[in-house]
């Protein structure tokens, strides 16, 4: 009887050990998934696409590992938990880094917006100083029309910034700035031509 009791106690202890080691890490899976979903909402796929894709892939790998263990008699979720913890840590790191990345993109876009505005202003100022007269009137009017087009393009940059599309805003502002600078060059050439006469 005593022996029987000992065996039962041993069996209970073994079952306890197996159940403790073999329980599916549901909570940590849910937490990792929630972290990734939150990152997706914060546009991580746009501002940190590689890191975000890696996180998703690692989560999939962890879930595969869980699935693999579920089919086994002796379940060991240690490796899954390890991967999931890494996913969580990486998600946390990305969450911390993401505002910086977005802020950097925003700053770059704002800088380019300012640069585009400055370049247009520079062209406008230069045009004001351009020698006036019959010989330059046509050129001045043409440049004014060019600058009008650029001024009309600028609100699109602001619209992109308002929509938090910082990459699109930066591209647009860069295109405007480059065109404005080319107009500055053309005005300078026109001035040199008039002065050279």
């Amino acid at each position: 009887m005593k022996k029987m009791m000992k065996l039962m106690a041993l069996a209970a202890a073994v079952a306890l050990v197996f159940s403790a080691c073999g329980s599916k890490p549901t909570q940590i899976i849910d937490e990792a998934k929630a972290q990734i979903e939150a990152l997706a909402k914060d546009a991580a796929d746009k501002y940190a696409p590689e890191e975000f894709k890696k996180l998703n892939d690692n989560l999939t790998a962890a879930l595969d590992e869980v699935k693999g263990q579920e089919g086994k008699l002796f379940k060991k979720f240690g490796k899954s938990v390890e991967i999931l913890n890494q996913v969580k840590a990486d998600a946390e790191a990305l969450k911390a880094a993401l505002p910086g990345k977005i802020e950097a993109a925003k700053t770059a876009a704002l800088d380019l917006q300012t640069a585009a505005g400055t370049a247009i202003k520079e062209a406008e100022e230069l045009l004001k100083k351009a020698p006036r007269g019959k010989g330059s009137k046509a050129d001045i009017e043409a440049f004014k029309a060019d600058l009008k087009g650029l001024n009309e393009s600028l609100p699109q940059v602001q619209a992109a910034l308002d929509a938090q599309d910082y990459i699109g805003a930066a591209d647009q502002a860069k295109a405007i700035q480059e065109k404005a600078m080319s107009i500055v060059d053309q005005i300078n050439q026109a001035i040199a031509k008039v002065k050279g006469k």
Partner: protein
């Protein structure tokens, strides 16, 4: 001993499993979601199935594990993935080339319409649209470089819209020049002027506004052609003072001015009887304010062709010298829009899509 080891040894996971995973990542990076979403989704589904099978096999005790089936599944998958990756690369190459061709076409048309804006003083009105087209095209180029094909396409459409707007503005300026009856009248005036030159063995001047030409005829034969500059709204027919348009009609030199604000000048008898009739009619119809006057002082003067006049015809100073020698008070001066057909006008301004190749 070795038999025992062989039996106990866990068979390795097929290397194709990791390869298929890497391929999935490469496909994603190559833009499979954009270029081949359905085959990519199929690949991912197949990869999922293969992984499930791999998990099943891995779940078995080591000595029951046989990866041969799974390995074959993965090998097929890797083959599919590589082929899909090549397809995507080809698609990207084709799309890049197509978008670059579209951008090059936009660039060509932009240059053509830009040239037209430089030839027509009124053309400046179209330039803000052209600038916006240029900005959109530049943004399309930036997006294309980054592989953002959809954004590049959208920007190309935007550039096309602005380009169309600019072109239509230019065409609206030329609308009067496309009118057959108007062209017939200009042709008749020119032919009568040349006929007069032939009959009287005299020198006459014909100014063709669209082509910006001043032609000199002596005894009915063209002896010289010079470039001219026109008014801010030089393509329009002058109706009243201050409209900065250049009049159209048959005129005579009424004074030769050896000293002028613009070197030398030939003063014309604008307004003639026809101009007065048009002015009165326009005023009666309310097209002009009651206080408006018909204006005058229309000259052919020096100062250069690059300037913008207030309705006069400007030539270079040396041309003015030449004209002074061959003209006299009473010399006929006929100013017309053009004698070119609509197709020829479009080709002249490279607005026919020929890119100025005609």
């Amino acid at each position: 001993m070795s038999l025992g080891l062989a039996v106990c040894r866990t068979p390795p996971v097929p290397p194709e499993a990791a390869q298929a995973d890497r391929l999935e990542h490469e496909l994603w990076r190559a833009g499979a979601l954009i270029f081949s979403p359905v085959p990519y989704a199929d690949y991912k589904k197949a990869l999922r199935r293969a992984k499930d099978h791999l998990i099943e096999v891995k779940a078995k005790f080591a000595w029951f594990r046989d990866y041969s089936e799974v390995q074959k599944e993965y090998q097929d998958l890797v083959g599919r993935g590589e082929s899909l990756l090549q397809t995507i690369r080809d698609l990207k190459k084709d799309r890049t080339a197509a978008l670059q061709t579209e951008l090059a076409g936009i660039g060509r048309r932009l240059r053509d319409i830009h040239r037209a804006t430089q030839s027509l003083n009124e053309g400046r009105l179209a330039r803000s649209s052209l600038t916006r087209a240029e900005v959109a095209a530049a943004q399309a180029s930036i997006s294309l470089e980054k592989g953002e094909y959809d954004l590049a396409s959208r920007k190309i459409v935007e550039a096309e819209d602005f380009l169309r707007e600019g072109r239509e503005m230019i065409l609206s300026l030329l609308a009067r020049y496309f009118d057959g009856a108007q062209r017939k009248s200009w042709t008749k005036m020119t032919e009568e002027t040349i006929a007069e030159s032939r009959a009287r063995r005299s020198t006459v001047l014909v100014v063709i506004k669209l082509e910006r030409e001043l032609q000199v005829y002596r005894s009915g034969k063209r002896t010289a052609t010079y470039g001219i500059g026109l008014g801010r709204f030089g393509l329009s027919d002058k109706l009243s003072s201050g409209d900065e348009a250049t009049p159209e009609g048959r005129y005579r030199v009424v004074r030769k001015l050896g000293w002028s604000q613009f070197y030398k000048a030939l003063l014309l008898d604008y307004p003639n009887a026809e101009d007065r009739r048009e002015f009165t009619r326009a005023k009666k119809k309310g097209w002009l304010p009651a206080s408006s006057s018909i204006g005058g002082q229309i000259e052919i003067h020096g100062g250069g062709t690059e300037g913008v006049t207030r309705g006069c015809v400007a030539v270079d100073d040396e041309v003015m010298d030449a004209l002074f020698k061959v003209t006299e008070v009473g010399t006929a001066v006929t100013i017309v829009g053009t004698m070119k057909s609509e197709d020829d006008i479009l080709a002249f301004f490279s607005l026919d899509g020929s890119g100025g190749q005609k």
